[in-house]
């Protein structure tokens, strides 16, 4: 039962964020955007925002963002980051992000969707005037998937601004929207009542109270509608009608206790105390911490008293008195536990966060307050927001603590890298410089050869392609000639002819083989080019690795020092805010527990008088009975 109450109340609070869920693109081009969605779908808003922020910053920092994979999803990513910030209760930043979309160069439907989201932020932050101003800026085409939600939001905004007629008019048009079943009808009823159209308003509340559905949220709003209408009818003294409406509320729903109490009073006001005993007796057996149950515990003996069964009434008053005493002791212990800080300690326990019913289970922990008394408080908007902030701050505190440790680890890594690379690098650099100069020389040679070959295509130079052997022979012939002509003598005729023949053979070979040699030289140059390319690749890889080696330990000191400073500052601020937020939560809990304690104390006094009165009447009745006998 309590689980249901809490779950339903949480569901009702979360309905807007469920409606605002970001869906994944049909064809995902950017995997990091997909990763942000993966975090978001698990409710890890911090990681989702952090990832998407980084992606968007990188995207906008590119020279040509169109080549980036995020380009295909950039509008959706902008919306998503706004939605995630909203879910992480960063309304100020979410508003700024969405405003940036509105002011950007976007199509009409995209702009209107952005305004819708902005208006929703204002509405959720209880700024109805700003919300109204925002929705009035929506003009032209609206994406079909938000049409109903936008109309519903408009109606809620008009209602919050006191423009009930406009709100009712919109809500009337929304009666067919399946996704808003129950909510549109209930809100229409309330808008009409506020507008002064009581009969029509009650009709819509009545209609909401009779909706057939299997959806938990719709059933909850149906019960709520019946409870509101029944209470209104009770106040108007239309007891029979009130009873009929209140009896429609499900016995296992979150509003069952209040409905049973009201149903009993509808009978009691008509003097039908026997009938009143039916809902009240059922209610009185439920959990004693519920305010309606506590009231039923004295309403039942009150009804017996009215039926002149004084002795039973006296006994029941006595039983209620004892139970109230026990509950007051429990409340005192709870208040003490809150004051001693156990409540906050229990709230941040990890294992409880894994469970949706964790708030209820807190009570099972030693020295924690009786959370059943705090259920309604815990479901209230202010407490929820404060609690979520406190839990977020606790999460931030843990993150900052971990990051501080990460920085220590980073420094260790850097130190180890420095210790490894620094002694090795000078020798490597020396060797590299030697090889580098050799490489440059070879490359220059290659370039020269290439240039010469290119020129030879225009002006053939067969002598350039003479082999080493031919060059040596040519040199030897020249030396022989010089030797023979030493001292001014001329070369003998026979020898001269032989020398010329030798030169002729050499020239013949060089000139006749020129084409083949040129082709072969080109082939060799091509092979050389392959080798040079390989060399260049290796060179680049070496340079990159060499750079990476230095970059792996240099240039981090300032960054790490700055991050340490920022983390320290943030930790101090988080600590201070946690203390303030914690005190606020404790005050809320303590106030609530005190309020319930005061109420029970009042009950005790009244029950004591009623019990004494019942005993007197029982004794008088017995005496009268004896006299009559």
């Amino acid at each position: 039962m309590y689980r249901l109450i809490v779950s339903l109340i949480f569901l009702m609070f979360s309905v807007s964020s469920v409606l605002a869920g970001v869906s994944a693109p049909k064809e995902l081009k950017d995997l990091y955007f997909g990763e942000a969605l993966y975090d978001a779908y698990q409710g890890d808003w911090f990681d989702a925002i952090s990832r998407l922020d980084t992606e968007l910053a990188q995207h906008y920092g590119l020279d040509d963002p169109k080549r980036d994979t995020l380009y295909y999803h950039v509008n959706q990513a902008e919306f998503a980051v706004g939605d995630f910030e909203l879910a992480y209760r960063m309304h100020l930043r979410a508003g700024r992000a969405i405003k940036a979309v509105i002011e950007g160069n976007v199509s009409e439907p995209v702009r209107n969707e952005a305004i819708f989201r902005l208006a929703r932020i204002y509405f959720q932050k209880n700024e109805p005037a700003n919300a109204l101003y925002a929705v009035k800026r929506i003009r032209g085409a609206v994406p079909p998937n938000i049409r109903d939600d936008l109309a519903f939001l408009r109606a809620q905004i008009f209602m919050a601004n006191g423009q009930f007629a406009k709100s009712a008019s919109i809500l009337k048009d929304l009666q067919g929207a399946k996704s808003l079943e129950g909510f549109s009808t209930y809100n229409l009823g309330i808008a009409l009542l506020k507008e002064g159209k009581k009969v029509e308003g009650c009709q819509y509340l009545d209609r909401t109270g009779q909706i057939k559905s299997k959806d938990d949220l719709t059933l909850a709003i149906r019960d709520k509608s019946d409870l509101v209408l029944g209470t209104k009818l009770l106040k108007e003294k239309k007891f029979e009608a009130a009873k009929q409406v209140l009896d429609r509320v499900r016995l296992k729903g979150p509003f069952s206790n209040r409905a049973l109490l009201g149903s009993g009073w509808a009978d009691a006001f008509e003097g039908r105390f026997k009938r009143a005993l039916v809902p009240w007796s059922l209610l009185a057996t439920r959990d004693v911490t519920d305010a309606s149950v506590q009231e039923a515990m004295i309403a039942v003996p009150y009804a017996y008293g009215k039926l002149n069964v004084y002795s039973k009434a006296a006994v029941m008053y006595n039983s209620a008195l004892k139970k109230f005493g026990t509950e007051i002791d429990k409340l005192d212990a709870s208040i003490k536990s809150v004051r001693e800080g156990y409540f906050l300690k229990a709230l941040v326990r990890e294992e409880l966060k894994q469970d949706a019913d964790w708030v209820v289970k807190l009570r099972k922990l030693p020295q924690t307050p009786e959370t059943y008394y705090l259920l309604e408080l815990m479901a209230s908007h202010n407490f929820q927001e404060s609690l979520k902030n406190y839990l977020d701050l606790e999460e931030l505190r843990k993150k900052l603590e971990t990051w501080n440790g990460d920085l220590d680890a980073f420094e260790d890594i850097i130190e180890k890298r420095r210790a490894y690379y620094q002694p090795l690098l000078p020798a490597i650099d020396r060797e590299f410089r030697r090889l580098d100069s050799q490489m440059r020389l070879r490359l220059e040679q290659r370039n020269r050869i290439q240039k010469r070959l290119k020129n030879m295509l225009v002006v053939p130079r067969p002598d350039y392609l003479a082999t080493t052997k031919e060059r040596v022979i040519s040199e030897q012939i020249t030396q022989l000639e010089q030797h023979l002509t030493t001292g001014g003598s001329s070369v003998p005729d026979g020898i001269k002819t032989r020398i010329e023949r030798l030169r002729g053979v050499l020239k013949w070979n060089i000139y006749t083989q020129y084409d083949r040699r040129l082709t072969e030289t080109y082939e060799h140059l091509r092979d050389l080019n392959h080798e040079v390319d390989r060399l260049k690749r290796q060179y680049t890889a070496f340079v990159r690795t060499r750079q990476a080696a230095t970059q792996s330990y240099e240039g981090y000191d300032d960054v790490i020092r700055r991050q340490r400073f920022l983390i320290r500052e943030a930790r101090e601020k988080v600590g201070e805010l946690m203390a303030r937020q914690g005190r606020m939560l404790e005050s809320m809990a303590e106030n609530e527990l005190n309020k319930r304690r005061r109420r029970l104390a009042e009950f005790q006094i009244k029950v004591r008088f009623a019990m004494a009165d019942s005993y007197d009447r029982a004794i008088r009745a017995q005496a009268q009975e004896k006299m009559e006998r």
Partner: protein
Amino acid sequence: MFCWLRGAIIGISVLVLSFAAYAQEISKEQIKGLDEQVQEIKSDVLSIAANLNQLEEKLLYPSNTQVAVFVSLVTGETFRLDSVDIQLDGKPVTHHIYTFKELQALQKGGVQRIYTGNIRTGDHDLQVSVLGKSAGGTDLQNTKRFKVNKGIGPKIVEVSLTAQGITFKDR
């Protein structure tokens, strides 16, 4: 006496049926003021997170050696994914067992970065093993090997899963 009690109870019942005002001692302004300060510190911590992400990437996964493996489910897949095991060049590098929330996030279209690491440029062997259960309740077991070619820039690969098999997408 009973009239007095009745009056008292009616008064209380109206209180119970009306919407209660909680913790009146704490004003809305106080709550709003603190909330704005919490929003500010969240923003500050997010900016620290962004800087640390960059630092971590530069320090631990430089782009010339970085490899990232992502896991996704093909749209409409309803099989229950229990675990994914990744091996790179014959060495197990990561193993992940899925929670219900994680599985739901994948089914909605989220993509999980299951592994980020460092490899040399060139060809590498990637082995993906998947365990799960089909919609009909039969056990699913699938292992596939792929070739990953690492260039100069960061290497991003996507492993897309269905009940029938594993698809590799080189990004």
